[in-house]
Amino acid sequence: MSLARRLLISVPYTWLLALFLVPFLIVLKISLSDYANSIPPYTPTLEVGEGWSGIKEFWSALDFENFVFLTEDALYIKAYWSSLKIAALATFFTLLIGFPFAYGIANAPQEWRPSLLMLIILPFWTSFLIRIYALIGIISNDGFLNQFLMWIGAISDPLVIMNTNLAVYIGIVYTYLPFMVLPIYATLEKLDSSLLEAAQDLGCTRISAFWSVTVHLSKPGVIAGCFLVFIPALGEFVIPSLLGGSRTLMIGKVLWEEFFSNRDWPLASAVAVILLLVLIIPIVLLQRNEQMQREQNK
């Protein structure tokens, strides 16, 4: 490998090392510490000045107590499980709505596409928080939606959407839709339409041609879109705390409570480490699976 190439590759690796691995190790270290009433609020802290004995003392004070605690209190397992469920369902709905969007844009006349894409991206120019607050104005008990439905006489009592899990789903689907549409559009746009004609020439119905050509070839985009939605949705904090009720249990909210309300940084760090593992393991498995498939195809 040439030096130039090595240098080029080292850039993303340095980035990952400095901005992902090092912070992760810090969080991991805090998760092995104990709560203390001090600045910072945990013990032990690493005293590099004391030399080797300081490091040894620091090392011996670390333990897995916080991780054991996570398994003892049912709250955390329920919160992880409920987050997985909410994130998975929300991703499914985003896909359900996002795919037709992407398909529609990819099949629109060439000169329309930039404007249509712009319409997808445009909401990003508004602050995320403002968009969530706008949603509150629409779905709250005396919001636009209920006022409209009551005005046309479709309902007599307002629909209770605000402060429920349904509101959280609406919030996630709405805010993450572009992350689903854009990667799917990118794969659909490159799709060779002659493949569809070939499939139909070879006896496929329109529907089965759509399934075995369009859907099949857009799989990388669908997978990328699903990950882009699922991963942030799993750790989402703002949406459940603003739109969800006190019964909406998500790990992002628990993490916030541990960190800010309980000031138990070590436990909050342990929750974060587990969350990362929950996310990383399926991603690694999926990548390995893909790699194996690619090698088989060679």
Partner: protein, 361 residues
């Protein structure tokens, strides 16, 4: 290129200007000051105020214990202040820079000495009680004329709460205030460190949790004033501000505050200067400014909380100094209890219980 140069020149100018103006960064509770006072301070001293707000002691403590908060003046409540002093979060006040210190009220100082011995780290800003705010008409509509609006029975009896849920109930999101109240309701010692006694509070709070629309420590002022909710378990002055806002809006909402007859928590919000404050001199100037009798009276007249400043009392409005909900009479005073900070081990029991109660798991 020319545009770029112009832009960077503008940016540089803005930066240098920001650096030259003196600043004091204050972190106080939401809805807790008359903003005219901030302007007045800026005019008198030429120091610019950066004013941020919080609505929970826990969030403030997280920032204090993380260190380098960047704030020059913060306002923790007594029991939190005490813990943060032990953690080394604050610096001692320099009384030479605080000539108005003589205005303070010895009665309150003797009480705050429980948290800050000798009052060497803090001065009292406001004090008050934690109790029940009700929308009188709605509550009597739901529970009848003899609704126990002055008793914890209103909010801790599931039969009452089930009916009140339809017109809306908010609780403070503050375990250190709600759990002692539940213990007072049971006739137990509210200020206990005993985990077995503390555990008695959990079934009381869990039983009414399904009927609490929200645990939040700032939204209830507006919600009460607008008539969105009919009961709030909150802080005295906040409820009285809601009463005032409803009165000004003339929307027919009548709000009343009562310190519960079973006993109410008396708390003290203390102004203190973080150990690593960037501009402690300016913080002292602000402390001295707010300890001025007329300024402190203006603050109390605006937020409806009692203060720890004896000299300010002659400038207080009659509906502040004369209101027993703000300046309690002797009988109510005898019925108030104070809280001491939990030890770390007990703290974990309490916060864990609180998370369980709120999330319903």
């Amino acid at each position: 290129m020319k545009l770029l140069t112009t832009l960077s020149t503008i940016a540089l100018c803005a930066l240098s200007q920001a650096a030259s103006a003196e600043e004091v960064r204050i972190y106080n509770w939401s809805d807790y000051i008359d903003e005219d006072l901030l302007e007045q301070f800026e005019e008198e001293t030429g120091i610019e105020i950066i004013y941020d707000v919080f609505d929970s002691n826990e969030v403030l403590e997280t920032k204090m214990l993380a260190g380098s908060s960047g704030y020059d003046l913060v306002v923790p409540t007594g029991d939190f202040l005490q813990r943060q002093i032990t953690a080394g979060a604050f610096q001692q006040l320099d009384l030479d820079q605080l000539p108005n210190h003589s205005n303070l009220w010895d009665v309150i100082e003797s009480r705050t000495a429980q948290y800050d011995p000798d009052n060497s780290y803090s001065i009292n800003y406001m004090w008050g009680t934690t109790g029940i705010g009700v929308n009188v008409n709605r509550v009597t509509e739901v529970l009848g004329e003899d609704a126990p609006i002055g008793s914890l029975d209103l909010i801790f009896n599931p039969d009452n709460m089930e009916k009140l849920a339809e017109c809306g109930v908010y609780f403070l999101d503050a375990p250190t205030e709600i759990i002692p109240a539940a213990l007072a309701y049971l006739g137990e010692e509210p200020d206990t460190q005993d985990p077995d006694v503390l555990a008695l509070a959990e079934p009381v709070l869990t039983a009414v949790a399904p009927y609490v629309a929200k645990y939040n420590s700032s939204e209830y002022i507006n919600a009460l004033a607008n008539g969105d909710i009919c009961v709030a378990f909150g802080w005295s002055g906040d409820v009285l501000q809601a009463r005032d806002r409803a009165y000004e809006a003339d929307n027919g909402v009548e709000i009343a505050y009562n310190a519960p007859s079973e006993g109410a928590l008396m708390w003290f919000d203390q102004m203190a200067i973080p150990a690593d404050a960037p501009n402690p001199e300016a913080a002292h100037k602000f402390l001295n400014f707010i300890m001025d009798a007329e300024n402190m009276a203006a603050a109390s007249n605006y937020v409806y909380y009692a203060n720890g400043n004896l000299a300010s009392q002659e400038f207080l409005l009659e509906d502040v100094i004369g209101d027993p909900a703000i300046y309690p009479d002797e009988t109510t005073l005898g019925n108030l209890y104070t809280a001491t900070p939990y030890e770390p081990r007990v703290q974990r029991v309490v916060t864990r219980m609180w998370t369980r109660i709120k999330s319903g798991t």
